[in-house]
């Protein structure tokens, strides 16, 4: 499974490229629409081609991501997978209660995080040391909140609540509590 920062990198490139193009198109339009010349009606063929393009784009985006972002399929069908490890975490009064044993995961293992809220709606996210996000989910009281994840690289991760639950939620950080190790080598 690719690391989520590879996906973010691809998305950044794609969206930046799109922004530059659309800003240039609008600048060109603003220049041309005021330039001397004759007003012409846009041919319906161009309009319908544009509609077709948007339709293909809108639908294909999700098909492409479903087939290229590995956790999409893993997430939607997680009930059909058997996790290699399960960690049960509870949250109450703006505090995570973690398993008593340290959460150590082998590279390429599928790990299920099962997070239960006893009071408010919280979030559950795993973050790298540079503060970038590995993944997140919502933690809703009275419901099952579980996420299946496959780690592809060794590393140490911090848990942070990713949903606002009042001003105290800012401090819901458990530093360096998930460790991913490569059983065939040393953890980086």
């Amino acid at each position: 499974m690719v690391d989520s920062n590879v996906v973010i990198y691809g998305q950044t490139l794609a969206y930046t490229f799109y922004c530059i193009i659309i800003i240039l198109v609008m600048a060109w339009f603003a220049y041309m629409v005021t330039k001397s010349g004759e007003g012409t009606f846009v041919k319906p063929k161009i309009f319908y081609t544009f509609v077709g393009f948007l339709t293909v784009l809108g639908v294909s985006l999700h098909i492409i991501t479903y087939n290229t972002i590995p956790w999409a399929e893993l997430d939607l069908n997680r009930a059909n997978y058997t996790p290699d490890k399960t960690f049960v975490i509870t949250v109450q009064d703006h505090k995570f209660t973690l398993p008593t044993d340290k959460m150590i995961v082998n590279v390429n293992d599928k790990v299920l995080f099962d997070v239960q809220s006893k009071d408010l709606t919280y979030g559950f996210g795993l973050f790298r040391n540079d503060n970038s996000m590995m993944f997140q989910m919502q933690v809703v009281p009275g419901h099952r909140n579980d996420i299946l994840w496959q780690f592809t690289k060794p590393g140490i991760y911090t848990i942070r609540s990713t949903e606002y639950s009042g001003p105290k939620g800012v401090f819901m950080i458990e530093k360096d509590v998930v460790e991913v190790v490569d059983p065939n080598g040393a953890a980086k």
Partner: protein, 538 residues
Amino acid sequence: MSFIKTLINGEEGLFKGDTLTQMQKLALRFVVVGLVFYAIVVVEGMIMRVFEVQAISLFSQEQFFAIMTAHPLVGIFGSTYLIVFGAFLFLVPFLMKKPLWSIKMANWTLVFVTVGTFTFWLAGFLTHYAPLYTLYWPLPADFNQFSVWGGTFFILGIALVMVGTALFIFNTFKTIMYTPEGWEKQPAGALFASAIGISGFKNLFRKEKKDHLVSLPVAAIARGTVDMAFNTAIILFTGVLILIYMLGSLMGFDLKTTAIDALLYKNWFWWGLDLIADGLVLIFVAGTWYLLATLITGKKLFMENIARTALLVELVVSWTVWSHHLLSDQAQPGILKVLSGEMVTALELITQGLAFFITLATLWSARPLKMTNPLKFLLGGLLGFALAVPAGIMQADVGLNRILHNTQWVIGPHVHVAVLVGLTMTLYSAIYFLFPILTNGAKWYSEKLVKIHFWCHLIGGIGMGAFMGMAGLNGMLRRSLYLNGEFNTYMVLAALSGTLLLIGFLAFFFNIVMSVGVKGAIDIFLPAKIKGKNLLPE
């Protein structure tokens, strides 16, 4: 004319309050109050931008989140709703070629929305009631964190806004359907059907097409207003529910918050909120683009029938799109995530894309055009949505949402670019267009200030969204604080962009004050000397 004289009497003394009709004054009052609330939103936004860089001691963290709670609500209801209401209460009678049904009701709308907005803002300011606009259950009823009295007044303020909104909805539909005294009887049912799109839908299956009884912009206003009506009902219901818990607490009863299912509440809340965010905003904006494009060019709208159909599709889409807010809720059924969250949401790319193309094609048909202020801001508004809608479509994806949800990406390139650049620049375009009409030919004090307003707003809005987005892609959450300056580079750049927005607004505000003069601004709020329901002086 000296500076002081201009400040008092307006540019060349052209704006004379006593020449305004009741309807002109009504529209101007809405716009002026809406702009005052916008000023509050800009200042609050800057406070938050600075606080994201450095937690200044002037404000506590509780105050910061109270500001964050009030900020979008003052922006939506106090500013955008009022400016839109003012414009539409003038435009619907103008386009329907008949008087507004009730000027008195319109004035009450202004009173309710203004007092309501001020009430919830003040309640948040004084008591730090801060469950945010998302109100995820049971947070709004968590009285260990928040003052029950503060919350009660906060919810009452929102309820007042909703009452004002309900009056606007009633007045709008009544104006479309009623027969003015002494006029030939108008077909109320057929007008209603045309306005909300039933007759247009039937036309798709008829051999002989019937003419549309209402113009396209009125159809857009009516269809957006349908969403507004549903949303008003939902917010009122939600407010009553929260009030029950608050009153229970005040009377000493501890009502069990578990009686309400948090996920069901979340679905209910987002269904209602998307009637604004993915419904009436997009429908009103598309309608305003069409109106402005035809007024600026004097030409017929390109592909008008398709535009009408797209507005109807957008209305239906807005009822079925909410699940994209719940892609990270693991208990949300997968079918809802894929169908509502991904597929229906993707339709917005098509409907907004069509509106974008149709508006540009209409402008193109009339080239060469003069780069007037309304055209300039209209193009800015179009660019804003062209940037923000694809950003939203990307996050409404099961895979991408896992790493984007609740990050600054959502609130930066999507929400703030859509609202600040897309929506607000469209509203500014309408204001610049309507200004000479509503003021009987008053002149802008300075064209240079208009240019400053335009460029500062455009660059500031896009810049702020971009830097927030970069922070989000690097993991920075929204609705949180980073006390060790983890994302300070992006936040400083976002704050500088926010400063540009502030400068742009100050340029606009100063320009408008100097154009109408202090005397004229006060006169707007005095009773009109010209009685009757005429839109413009005879």
